[in-house]
Amino acid sequence: MVFYSDDEILTGLREKDPDCIRFLYKEFLPVAKSIVERNSGNHEDTEDVFQDGIIVLYQKVRGSKILLNCSLKTYFYSICSKIWMQRLDRKWRIQYSDRFVHEPVEEYQSNENDPDEAKLERTRIYQIHFLTLPEDCQKVLKLFLCKTTLKDIAIIMGFRDESYAKTRKYLCKNMLRKRILKDPRCKFL
């Protein structure tokens, strides 16, 4: 496997280079693992935190170039650490809020620079379920979310009319909604 320097990783990530993502998995997953599995998390939690960490990193490099004053691994460690600590705190609150927690949640909101881990988790679940939908459903929903008109959706997708496009959109969204609501992780959202 090719070795990537920190700069190359950031460039590769910006370009969503599959090799670079595989390299990240190999080199950076142990970072997330060291945080999560030492703090009452399991393998699935590690995988989730790692993916969320990559998304945060991507969002940071996507728009502008980030200036690192430490190694990328250390930077990634701090991202994952924040995500996991917030997640632990949130899940603990959801599970035990009736018995132990009396303070309003707002007092525990993290500062603005911290990633919104609840949103990250929610987005991850939604996106994963979205990617399990049939190809044509994904396409219809994508077109719809890009504000494409029903008429254009019908033309692009080869539907007979916009009424059918509307029905398909509804069916696809409903399928997605059901899958999400069935996901046990959703009870923490």
């Binding site: 599959p18 987005t123 939604y126 994963i128 969204k173």
Partner: protein, 269 residues
Amino acid sequence: MSNREHLPEWIAMYNEKTLMGDDLKAFLKMLENNPALQREVKLDEELNHDLEDEDLIDLRRRILAASESRLKNNDITRKLLLLAASLVILLALEILINHLCSRPDGLTRKLNLAEKNAVQTTQESFVMKHPGLERQSGKTNSHHILNDADKAGIDNSLAVNFRPDPVFEGLVGVYTRSEYFRLKTPAGQHRFTTEKRILFDWESASDKRFKLIILDNTGNELIDTGPVLVLPVSLDHNLFKPGLFYFKVIRNEDILYFGKFFVEDQSGK
């Protein structure tokens, strides 16, 4: 059509801000006291928002693909490791079995020899149990009798080797079972001196397999032939140091006959 049937459409329209007029009023009224509907509206809104970013969805797809390929690789690695571990275990077992076979009192060797006995009773087809005698047994040492050091030892311990065991002496020559069994050789208290081979032969009414066990004069079991198929049982003279030996013929753990014989060196000592 009732308002409830309109709900999915209304939720979508509400979030797209295209729900108007009486429908909007009816919907807001329903929304007010219905937490389940509120959750549905929120989910729809979040879906619209979170799935808007095509770029992120594309990245997610690639992350999932990388995760899947990593899991596949891990699976292959795990299988290879398992295979390697199995090979190592098999190799270790092979070494262990070889090691056991090479030991004079090894279980495997005993089993192997018992199998050989079922075919033919020969010089090699018994189990040597006395380590001191083992190096003189078998093909490798058939010609050589004893080296000088052994001879010196024999001189010193000769009297000890010929000392009779009082308990065994009481059993010698006794046929312990009522069924027909007669020992042909060695007759009486035979002294083997010049013969190269020591023969054991018997007659019996049964065609069942007997076992011959040879003991030294202190009761140490030296040889166990396993089931004897071919008679006579022929043992090399060189397998024994000069001394007194006892033997017993056994069937199903019952002793049929108990006897003794002497082995002396060429000079008649």
